[in-house]
Amino acid sequence: MSGPLQQLDYSDLQQCMHCGMCLPTCPTFDATKRERHGPRGRIALMRAVADGDLVAGREFADEMSYCLGCLACQTACPAGVDYAGLFEAARAEVEQSGLPQTPARVLWRALTLRFLFMRPWALRIVARVLRIYQKTGLDGWVRRLGLTRVLPADLQRLEPQTPRISACFSDECIAEEELPEGPARYRVALLTGCVQDIAFSNINRDTADVLLANGCRVHTPAAQGCCGSLHGHNGEPGLAAELARRMLDRMPPENYDAIITNAGGCGAHLRHYSRVLAGDAEYAARAAEWDRKVRDIHEWLVEIGCRKPAAGEEAVVTYHESCHLAHGQKVVKQPREILKSIPGVRLVELAESSWCCGSAGVYSITQPEQSGALLKRKVGHIAATGARFLATSNPGCHLQVANGLRAAGVPVDVVQPVTLLARAYRAERAEKPVGAERKH
C-alpha cells in the first residue's frame, strides 16, 4: 500500500532543488544547524520515503513533529516549493505508518481531533465548564492546593496556559445578520473560528464592527465549528475534508462577496479548500469559488479602501506577524497599514517580526522546549521596542505571546489590529454629535 508521500505528484518533491536559500529563515535549523532540522533536509527525508529508500519510522515522525510548520521557508523559496502541502502529506504519512503510540497520545488525538474539534457543541460544553472553573476562582484554589499534580505531566504544564474563556461566545454577541448604518456595499460572511470563538469572541465582535463601519453587511452563522486546519496540519486529511464540506454547506460561497477570517492560522488553511477536497467532484467548483473569496480581514479592508477613523488613541504599537498570515497567506503590509491609519498610533517595527513565536498550533504542547526558546526570543524583541501594545492576528500567537509577556513581567498588552481599529471607530462615535453618522 502506498502512503501519502508516494501518492504525491513526484514533481512536487523535485521542486526543491536544495539550494539552501530557506535555511537562514528556519527557526529549527537556526537552533541546531543540522540539515535534517531544516526545510531542504526534511524534504530530502520525505523524498527518500517516497522513493522507498527510507521507512517513515520514529525518527521521521519526530522530525515532522519538530518542524513548526511556520512556512517561513515557503516565503524564502525562490523555486516555489509548496512546503505546506508536502508537510501535510508527511504528517499524514506518520499517522498512517502504524507506529506504536503512547496511550496518552492516542487518547489526546481522539479527544481533540476526532471528538472536540469535530463537534462545536462538545467544544462549547468544555468551554462552559472551563468558564465556570475560571470565573469562580476555583482555578486559583486548585493550583494553590497543588491539585494540578494529579494531572498528567503534559496537562500540568499547560494548565496555567489555558485561555481565559470569554464571558460570551460569538453568537451571543454577534447577531446572525447585521447591517451597516448606510447602504451595504458588500455582503460578507464572518468566520468565528473555534478557539477565537470561545476565548476571543470580543475580537470577533470587533471584526464585525469594523466590517460594518466599512459598509459591509455581515452574515455570521452561529456555532460554526472548526475549519479543519488543526486536522490538516496534524495528519488527518480525511477529517479535514469532512469539515471543509460542512463549512461549504453552511456558508455557500455564492452568497457572498467575501468570506472573512481574522485568525492567521485558519485563513492559511481556509484558502486551500480546493486542495483539501481535491478529487471530490461534487464539491470542486464550490471549493474553488470559496478559495477565491476567502480574505483575511486586513487584506479585505485594504482592498475595499478602509475608512480612516477620525478619532483614535495615542499609543506606541508594535506588530508580530502570525506565520500563517505572513507566510501562509502572504498578508504582510495590510495589518501595518491598518494600524498606521489609526490617529495617534505610532507603529514601531519589531525585530524579526515574522519569526515564529513558538505557538504553532499544538507545538507548545508537543515541543515545549523549542517553543519556550522561541517565545523567550520573541518577548525579548517586544520588550526592546518600548511599545504599549503588541498587535497580532492569530489566537495561538495571541495566547502564547501574552503568556510569555506575563511570565517575564513585561507590561505590554496583546491586541488585534482590528480591536484597535474598532476602538478608534467607537471613539469617533463618542466624539461625534448624534446623527452625523448617517450622512454618508
Partner: protein
C-alpha cells in the same frame, strides 16, 4: 557503506558523541549540495569545534584510510561536497566565529564556517566592506567561498574571493596544521602557498581559518535596470561600457525566461515582456558615481535599450540585487530539474556566446534560461528539464557538450566560479591539455598521496 561501531565511537571520542551523526535520517540530508541530480550517502557526519578537532579527525581518517569530504553549507553547484560512499563528512558550520576585525590594517579574521554575509556585516560595523557577494551569501561559508574561489555580483570591479584572501590556516592530509600568508600587503617569502589552496575544492587541505582584506565602504552607489528587446544588444552594451573605460561594480544579465521566473517570485516589478535586462551598478565617490551612471545610461540607450530605470532608493536597489540573487533558484519553478552551467568567455565574445546558447537550445528542443555575471563574461545557461526523462536528459548532455566545445573555441573556461567538482570533471582535460592536467594531478598527489581528501572531485 556504513562505518563500524568502533569507528563511530572513536570519532565520538574526538568531537563528542552529540557531534557525530550516523542514523539514516540524520545523514541522508548531507547526501547532496546545491547541484541537481547528484547524491550519495555518507558513512557519518562530524561537526568539529576547532582546528584541533579537525586535525584529530583528519589524522584518524588517515590512519583508518577513510575518505574525508569537507562541507560548509552545501550550496556548491558542482557537487563539490557531495559525499563519496562511506566517507566522513567534515561539516564546519560550528566553526562560525568572526575572530577579529582590525580597522587599522583593514583585515578580518574568521573561522572557516563563518557565513559570508555575517563577514560583510561585521566589516560594516567599522565602515568597511567585504566585496565578494555570491548569490548564496546569506548561507555559504567563507571556507566554501575560498575552496571554490567564489565570485559574486561585484566581480567586475572588485574581483573574486582570491583577491581578498591574505592568509589561511589549513589542516593538511596528514593532520599537520599550516599557516600561510599574513597581514602584510606585500610578501614574497617563498611560494605563494595560500593561493594553491584557493579554489582547491577541499582536495588539498581543509581551510580552518581565514584572514581577509577589507575595503572602505563606498560612499555612494547607483543602481539601474536597462531593458532590451534583443539579447545581443544587452551583451553589446556590456562590451561598450568596458570599452568606454568604465568599470561599474555590477553588470548582471537576465534573459526573458529568467526575468519571468524572478518576477514571479520576487514581485519587484520587472517587465516580463522584454528579451533581456541588465542590472547595472556603480559605486564610489558621489561625483564619480553620478558621472558614470549618466554615461552608462547613455551607452545603454545607444545600444538599443528600450528603457533605463534608475532605482529611487537604497531599498529599491537592494530589492533588485536580491531579486537577481534568486535567479538560479527561481528558474527551478518551471521544471523539476535545473541543470546549470558556468561557462565563461572573454568579454568581447559575449554577444556571440549568448546567441549560440539560444541556438543550441532551439536545435535540441530544450528549455534554457540564461543569466549571469555579464561583466565578468560569466554566463549561467540553465537547462530546465526532468531527470526522469532519459531522452531529454541525453539531449541536455549533448547541448552541454556543444556549449563547452564552443566556449573553448572562443578561448573561454568550463567554469568561472562554481568549480569542477563532479559536474565539470569530464571536460577538464579538454580545457587544460594533457601537460597542465597532469601537473595539477601531481600537485594533488604530492599533498595528499593517499587521495583521502574529497576523492573523485576535479579528477578521477
Amino acid at each position: 557503506m556504513a562505518l563500524s561501531e568502533t569507528a563511530l565511537s572513536e570519532l565520538a571520542g574526538l568531537v563528542g558523541a552529540e557531534n557525530v551523526l550516523w542514523r539514516p535520517e540524520d545523514i541522508l540530508p548531507y547526501g547532496f549540495d546545491g547541484t541537481a541530480a547528484l547524491k550519495e550517502r555518507p558513512g557519518a557526519v562530524v561537526f568539529p569545534a576547532d582546528t584541533g578537532q579537525v586535525a584529530a579527525v583528519v589524522r584518524w581518517a588517515a590512519a583508518n584510510r577513510v575518505p574525508v569530504v569537507t562541507r560548509g553549507s552545501g550550496t556548491g553547484l558542482s557537487g563539490g561536497s557531495v559525499p563519496s560512499g562511506g566517507c566522513v563528512v567534515l561539516c564546519l558550520v560550528r566553526m562560525d566565529r568572526i575572530l577579529e576585525v582590525d580597522p587599522n590594517n583593514l583585515t578580518l579574521r574568521a573561522q572557516a564556517g563563518a557565513i559570508t554575509l555575517k563577514i560583510d556585516e561585521a566589516a560594516g560595523v567599522h565602515g568597511l566592506f567585504y566585496p565578494p557577494d555570491p548569490g548564496s551569501m546569506k548561507i555559504s561559508t567563507i571556507g566554501g567561498n575560498v575552496a571554490e574561489n567564489s565570485g559574486g555580483l561585484r566581480g567586475l570591479k572588485y574581483g573574486v574571493t582570491r583577491d581578498y584572501v591574505m592568509g589561511l590556516e589549513v589542516v593538511m592530509a596528514d593532520g599537520r596544521v599550516v599557516r600561510l600568508g599574513n597581514a602584510c600587503v606585500k610578501d614574497v617569502a617563498g611560494y605563494s602557498m595560500k593561493d594553491l589552496f584557493i579554489g582547491s575544492e577541499g582536495t588539498l587541505g581543509i581551510v580552518t581559518e581565514v584572514l581577509l582584506k577589507l575595503l572602505p565602504r563606498p560612499a555612494a552607489r547607483r543602481t539601474m535596470l536597462a531593458l532590451y528587446d534583443r539579447m545581443e544588444d544587452a551583451a553589446e552594451t556590456v562590451s561598450a561600457i568596458i570599452a568606454a573605460k568604465i568599470i561599474p561594480c555590477t553588470l548582471e544579465f537576465l534573459d526573458r525566461r529568467t526575468i519571468q521566473c524572478v518576477e514571479d517570485y520576487a514581485k519587484v516589478g520587472l517587465p516580463t515582456d522584454c528579451a533581456a535586462l541588465l542590472l547595472m551598478e556603480t559605486d564610489g565617490h558621489p561625483e564619480a558615481v553620478r558621472d558614470e551612471a549618466a554615461r552608462m545610461e547613455q551607452i545603454a540607450r545607444e545600444r538599443g535599450a528600450r528603457a533605463v530605470r534608475v532605482a529611487g532608493s537604497v531599498e529599491e536597489a537592494q530589492q533588485l540585487a536580491t531579486a537577481r540573487r534568486s535567479a538560479f533558484s527561481a528558474l527551478a519553478r518551471m521544471r523539476p530539474t535545473t541543470i546549470l552551467e558556468d561557462v565563461t568567455v572573454p568579454r568581447s565574445e559575449l554577444a556571440r556566446m549568448v546567441a549560440y546558447i539560444a541556438e543550441i537550445a532551439d536545435r535540441h528542443g530544450l528549455q534554457v534560461g540564461t543569466f549571469g555575471h555579464m561583466g565578468d563574461g560569466n554566463l549561467h545557461p540553465t537547462f530546465l528539464t526532468d531527470e526522469r526523462d532519459t531522452e531529454e536528459m541525453r539531449k541536455v548532455h549533448l547541448a552541454l557538450d556543444e556549449i563547452v566545445e564552443r566556449t573553448l573555441e572562443l578561448g573561454g573556461t568550463i567554469t568561472g566560479e562554481h568549480g569542477v567538482g563532479l559536474a565539470k570533471k569530464p571536460w577538464l582535460r579538454r580545457q587544460l591539455g594533457d601537460a597542465s592536467y597532469e601537473l595539477m594531478k601531481q600537485v594533488r598527489v604530492a599533498l595528499d598521496p593517499a587521495g583521502l581528501l574529497n576523492p573523485g572531485k576535479i579528477f578521477d
